[in-house]
């Protein structure tokens, strides 16, 4: 079985590294990181990841804007997106879902269980 490609987008280098390490705990995952929304749009179209983890608050192009960019491109329109955000209120989660995201992982996340959480999300997506 080939590795599951996951694209992670966050403007904070430290968080990119921690997510990389956390997801690396699951050897099935192949992770690529992007530092901005623009970068993510290009990478997603080229690399066709199976899942995108997207930070909400980023300078210039924020998460929701990036998501709408992904949805506009036929190459990336179907890629599932999970937002990563601090303090996700139920109402905000509903808003993100309405924007076309498949779910939300709240920050700070538990690095030891992040891979497990992502796996669960992927399985839930597969069932639908």
């Amino acid at each position: 079985m080939s590795a599951i490609r996951i694209l992670h987008v966050d403007d904070e280098p430290d968080i990119r590294e921690i997510v990389d390490l956390s997801l690396g705990l699951n050897s099935d995952f192949q992770v690529r990181s992007c530092a901005s929304g623009d970068e993510a749009l290009t990478a997603a179209a080229e690399w066709s990841p199976e899942l995108i983890l997207l930070d909400v608050m980023m300078p210039r192009m924020d998460g929701p804007t990036t998501l709408s960019g992904l949805r506009k491109n036929p190459k990336t329109t179907d890629i599932p997106v999970l937002f990563m955000t601090a303090r996700a209120q139920p109402r905000e989660i509903e808003q993100f879902i309405a924007l076309g995201a498949q779910g939300v992982i709240s920050k700070p996340f538990d690095p030891m269980t992040l891979a497990f959480t992502v796996r669960n999300h992927l399985e839930a997506l597969k069932r639908h």
Partner: protein
Amino acid sequence: MGTVVDIVNTARDRSAEKLVDEKFRLVVEACPSGMVMTDTAGTIVLTNTATERMFGYPRDQLLGRQVEILIPERLRGESLKQRAAFALNPQTRRVEANRELLGLRHDGTEFPVEVWLNPIQAHDGLFVLSVVVDVSERKRMDRLKDEFVSTVSHELRTPLTSISGSLGLLLGGAAGTLPDGAVRLLSIAHSNSKRLVRLINDILDIEKIESGQVVLNFRRIDVRALAEQVIEANRAYADGFGVTVRLDADSQAVDVSADPDRLAQVVTNLLSNAIKFSPQGGEVVVATEQHGDLIRISVRDHGNGIPAEFKPRVFEKFAQADATDARQKTGTGLGLSIVEQIVTRLGGRVSFDDADGGGTVFCVDLPSWMQIAKREIDKGRTADAIRILLCEGDPEGAMALREGLRPLGFSADFAHDPEAAIARARTSSYAAILVNLEPADADGIGLIRRLREQPAIYNTPIVIISGDRVDAKEEASKLNVFKWVGTPVDTYELAQVLDGALVRGERRQPRILHVDDDPAMRDLVTFALEPLASVVSVGSVDEARGAVLKQQFDLAVLDIALGPISGLELLPELRNGKGRPIPVIIFSAHPPELAPNPQVRARLTKSRASLDELVAAIHDRLMLKSSVSREEVA
């Protein structure tokens, strides 16, 4: 001799009086607050330098004028009411309004003010001294503080995510096995980083609640079910402390009207507090019950109880009975303060008491859903009041609006959710319907769409109450919404809007001309369209010409085969007073191919198109038209 002394004394008294007068005058002039004295009719009789400076008027332009020139026009009605109320009960007090008070400068600009009213009983009658303070700077500082707290909290959270993430990875063995000593130190760092996150979250929460940014989404909630969910969600946490949590077996399934997320947060905070302060092996009991019109949720622990000297400060921010103890318990000192703020916003009360047999019981009392529902019909309605329906989830807000509108001649019934709104609108006749679009996820637009589907409500003016829902504007424009009123609602302004809606509403039943030579078809169409509009039905071209001369029409439904004459001949003559063409829907057995003609809005074939389709086409047409005319009005 005595007379001379008297005269001298009197002269001395007078000059002393003068001196005192002069001193008082100087005091008034030196006062940094604006002072405006008016008679009971509102005429300015005295003012000071600060007022001149604040409002930009020279004194001679103020004296003798009505005090209302210092108030923006839209708030003057409110001010008149305040003045009338003050005359009935002249006592020193601050002007309380359900919205920000504003002053109007000479140059037309506005600024936020605080106003105190003081009665002055002089020998020639009652006067009112208004003391006016310009609070623009204070408001600006408040806003800056809010922004600062919110920015700092967000900025703090990003590095914290990295710190707690790294520590978590190290402790989880991601970088290999660590010596025991390192694990202990890292655990301390890790648990404290998590505590910092909780603290920041609580600060942000309280900031949001205090600044009114938390929008409450009231729903009908079964409190026992909610308590069960919260208990389940916190079971693991309780296990960590070796504490058991259970729902009292006698708990009643009773309903309240509240925001489910926020009420769950209240119960969670009380529960986690109770767990933290329970001894190992202790038990926490949650119970729900009805006390008359109130629903009580109680959380009882078997801890050491709250020390008497700490009781008055329990709900204060960062208040902790014993700092060392609290640190052990990893509290932020904000949980109960958040509880109190939310419960107050939900229209309830939180209290605590020593429990029988030791420990503490915290109680949250909320008005029962039944009590809220009973209040929805305005029982204080007078016979001549204009009945309106207010679709508003927040009962407190609805009550305030009802009371504000009552003296202005309106009687407001409420509907707390879409089902109630539709049921009420169908069974009672309302002159207008107000829909509050806050909170954003309550789908007020969906409600309006559903209301508009009811034939009886098709023409009822709908007014939207909303902060700033630009996203909804386009949608609403298709639904024949009369006007938008901003929040916080100014009842006086709202009453004016309603008056406008009602006047226009009387002539707003759209009028449709139906031309068809088949009497059976005329009856059918009239029957089908009656709920939407008043229909004038004619059987010939001549009758149609006559009808157009007599009346204005919003739309014409035209058959083509009218005996020997083609209905198309009528098209150029179907014009309203100013020569504006009446939009036409052709409804005919054989609609002809036509050159593009902007007057013809739709062509429907009788045999294929059902009456429903005709009604739908007309419905769309009238709605679009009304939304256009609304914009013209605005």
